[in-house]
């Protein structure tokens, strides 16, 4: 490319053999970026040997092709222009490794999150930007040098934060795989929401019995340390070897305890939505939430369902309260339809004559929960669908009962009014207030306030914070079954990190160019990790960076008045070349 003044030859560098793969991401990129034009713009670079577009760069077949290209074309550099490096740096470093190419000769160029998606309104601009970004990526790769990863010892222990069903099952899973566990619970008791519930869907086993079983199993495992009335308040250290500080409250004296752990699993759960007074009649005598109703039904077991001493003969359930709202919580909480259908079955077992009306927007009793739904209809439950934009109205009537008025999708448009004894507001989940922990761990949260994983399908329990996994309902609303699956995924993920006994870290550390160093000492006090020391050689005093202590921040780089310090992977030469690459204005295809 004539516009790139940093062409290899001019710098006296040997020519490189770089492969460039530009991803469509199935349309996520190619709908907004002309990927063929990007390919055409960089294909003539003398150091680019392979330039190709691909539907999915991360697909198995494409990875095999890359390995083959690297081997057959003797590539010594790899550039993949696709999604965020957070998603696939590991994937393509793996491709490089499998093809015996040094993984640090690979550069990921982000043309999705930082291009196609951000400029879905500007195809020409997004395409020009992709060309510049890929050119910069090639420029950086051109100046890459082979590096070997650093090995660090890992601590075979995991801190599980949250002692609900997810945290408990996670702790057991970790202990059984040989990883010590510190289980930290903010409340005085373990068990969370499930531990307070009676018979739950789908199998009618009381939640508190399920939790009791887990607690018994935990008691049998000496490698699990349980701390209640405890909160994680500090985290220092580095990947695979963190120091966690836990504040433990007790009547005698509060205590600050310290633990060495390799990973964290955050399973802090969710809260249930609390309706405002007046919302769908909440606050009127006889209008209760699903959680309150559940307790009422369980306490009635073997007797009569009653509300304040009066027998309940009819019930209206209003679904989707506080969820699926155009403003506010837009999501579906997933568990509430099945939980309500199941509660209505418990009621019909108590007293088959109770009339039950389910006022819904659509029933999402998915998978096997459909069977509960069918069963409830067979037992007389009536399902009425109300419009999304016209929720039912709840009033107290003169005779001391409740009246629920709705427009039913089948019999409308005339509203119908149902006289009932009890109204149950089917409330979903909301994110739990956990600001201190969120800030401490720097956990990313989504618009909805729940914690975000890196990728819902490919990395479903990992977060962008190294060594910190999330599981259960802190990640989003879900039934206990799915929450526990997430916990066990976090067990596997922790084991993957900790069971080898060591982790490989990026060798992207600072280095000193001995010839350029004048021994002025400016850098010696700049590193808080004591990674920089000095030594004396033939030409005088020189600075030296310890790769083991260096965290790779590069903070010492601008401090050197003689430009003698470089951060590997981000050397001055690479950064300047990348900046030149970004200056590229697109070449017409």
């Amino acid at each position: 490319m004539s516009e790139n003044p940093q062409a290899a030859g001019e710098q006296g560098e040997a020519p490189r053999r770089i492969g460039v793969y530009i991803c469509h991401c199935g349309g996520n990129i190619s709908d907004y970026v002309d990927v063929a034009a990007v390919r055409a713009a960089i294909a003539d670079d003398p150091d680019v040997v392979v330039a190709t577009t691909t539907m999915f760069a991360c697909a198995d077949g494409q990875q095999h092709e890359m390995v083959r290209d690297i081997r057959e074309q003797h590539l010594d550099g790899l550039v993949v222009a696709s999604c965020s490096p957070k998603l696939h740096t590991t994937t393509f470093r793996g491709v490089s490794r499998r093809a015996d190419l040094n993984p640090y000769a690979y550069t990921q160029v982000n043309i999705r999150e930082q291009d196609s998606w951000a400029h879905s309104d500007d195809r020409e601009g997004a395409t020009q930007k992709a060309i510049a970004l890929v050119t910069a990526g090639i420029a950086k790769t051109r100046l890459s040098t082979p590096l070997e990863p650093l090995r660090v010892e890992t601590v075979p222990a995991t801190m599980v934060v949250g002692g609900g069903v997810t945290g408990l099952r996670t702790a057991i899973g970790l202990a059984d795989i040989g990883i010590a566990v510190i289980l930290v619970e903010r409340e005085a008791q373990l068990g969370g929401w499930l531990g307070r519930l009676g018979p739950t869907f789908p199998h009618d086993v009381p939640g508190r019995d399920q939790v009791a079983r887990l607690l018994a199993e935990i008691a049998e495992r000496p490698t699990i340390t349980v701390l209640t009335n405890a909160e994680l308040v500090g985290k220092t250290g580095s990947f695979g070897n963190y120091t966690a500080k836990v504040h433990v409250r007790s009547e005698a004296a509060d205590e600050l305890r310290q633990f060495q752990v390799g990973t964290f699993v955050i399973a802090t759960g969710a809260d249930v939505y609390q309706p405002e007074v007046g919302e769908l009649g909440y606050g009127i005598e006889g209008v209760v939430t699903l959680a309150e109703f559940g307790t009422l039904v369980d306490e009635a077991a073997g007797g009569t369902l009653a509300w304040h001493g009066r027998r309940v003969r009819s019930i209206a359930y209003v679904y989707c309260v506080g969820n699926r709202q155009p403003e506010g919580n837009a999501y579906c909480s997933k568990f509430c339809c099945a939980a309500t259908v199941h509660a209505s079955l418990k009621v019909s077992r108590l007293d088959p004559t109770v009339r039950q009306f389910h006022l819904h927007r659509d029933v999402r009793a998915y998978g096997r929960y459909e069977l509960l739904y069918t069963q409830s209809r067979e037992r007389g439950s009536v399902y009425l669908r109300y419009p999304d934009d016209a929720p039912p109205e709840v009033e107290r009537t003169a005779d001391g009962r409740l009246a629920v008025t709705l427009v039913d999708a089948l019999t409308g448009p005339d509203p119908i009014t149902l006289p009932v004894d009890l109204v149950v507001l089917v409330t979903g989940m909301v994110p739990r207030e956990n600001e201190a922990l969120t800030t401490l761990l720097k956990l990313p949260t989504g618009d909805d306030g729940f914690y975000n994983e890196i990728h819902p399908k490919l990395r479903p329990v990992e977060t962008v914070v190294d060594g910190v996994m999330i599981a259960g309902t802190c990640q989003g609303p879900k039934p206990a079954t799915e929450a526990v699956s997430g916990g066990l995924a976090a067990v596997t993920q922790s084991a993957g990190i900790l069971k080898r006994g060591f982790a490989e870290l990026d060798p992207l550390v600072a280095t000193v160019n001995e010839a350029a160093c004048t021994g002025c000492g400016a850098c010696l006090t700049t590193c808080p990790y004591d990674a920089i020391s000095s030594y004396v050689c033939d030409t005088g005093q020189k600075a030296l960076v310890s790769a083991a202590n260096c965290k790779g921040c590069g903070g010492c780089v601008p401090v050197c008045p003689d430009d003698a310090i470089d951060l590997l992977g981000y050397t001055s030469a690479q950064m300047l070349a990348a900046i030149d690459g970004l200056a590229t204005t697109g070449v017409p295809a």
Partner: protein, 138 residues
């Protein structure tokens, strides 16, 4: 957009904090000018003032440092260090006749999607107002 080309902006982001925030802006399809490009580094304290000057001399109209602020996992005094680098860079820029407003710095957290998109729209507008770069010397 106006007839004159939109100002080109180089953003320095940080791998663990501001770059995920910028990713999130894209994931949410928040729009900002496509003339904004991002180069990620581990920590904003590692950005050399000479890189900033080089960018402004090779086609960028402005440079924006999306710094870690108080959240930096590496250096407790990251914000001060980065601010110091900004001052140094502005001195270099002044020597070349470049206005100090062409360099901006703000902390962008890992979920600061909307603030980032807003910063970019505002910075682009401010640079457009400032007009084209003085012709590079040398």
């Amino acid at each position: 957009m106006s007839a004159s080309p939109a100002p080109r902006i180089l953003v320095f982001s940080t791998n663990n904090i501001s770059d995920p925030g910028i990713d999130l802006a894209g994931s949410r399809h928040l729009h900002y000018p496509a003339t904004v490009s991002v180069l990620a580094v581990p920590c904003s304290s590692g950005i050399k003032p000479s890189w900033i000057l080089h960018a402004l001399q090779t086609g960028q109209d402005g440079v924006f440092i999306a710094s870690d602020g108080e959240e930096c996992a590496y250096l407790p005094d990251c914000a001060e260090r980065t601010a110091h680098l900004v001052t140094q860079a502005q001195q270099l820029m002044a020597e070349q006749g470049l206005e100090p407003q062409r360099l901006k710095m703000a902390a962008v957290c890992s979920v600061c999607a909307e603030p980032f998109a807003k910063y970019m729209r505002e910075f682009a507008a401010a640079l457009a107002e400032l007009g084209p770069r003085p012709v590079a010397v040398g």
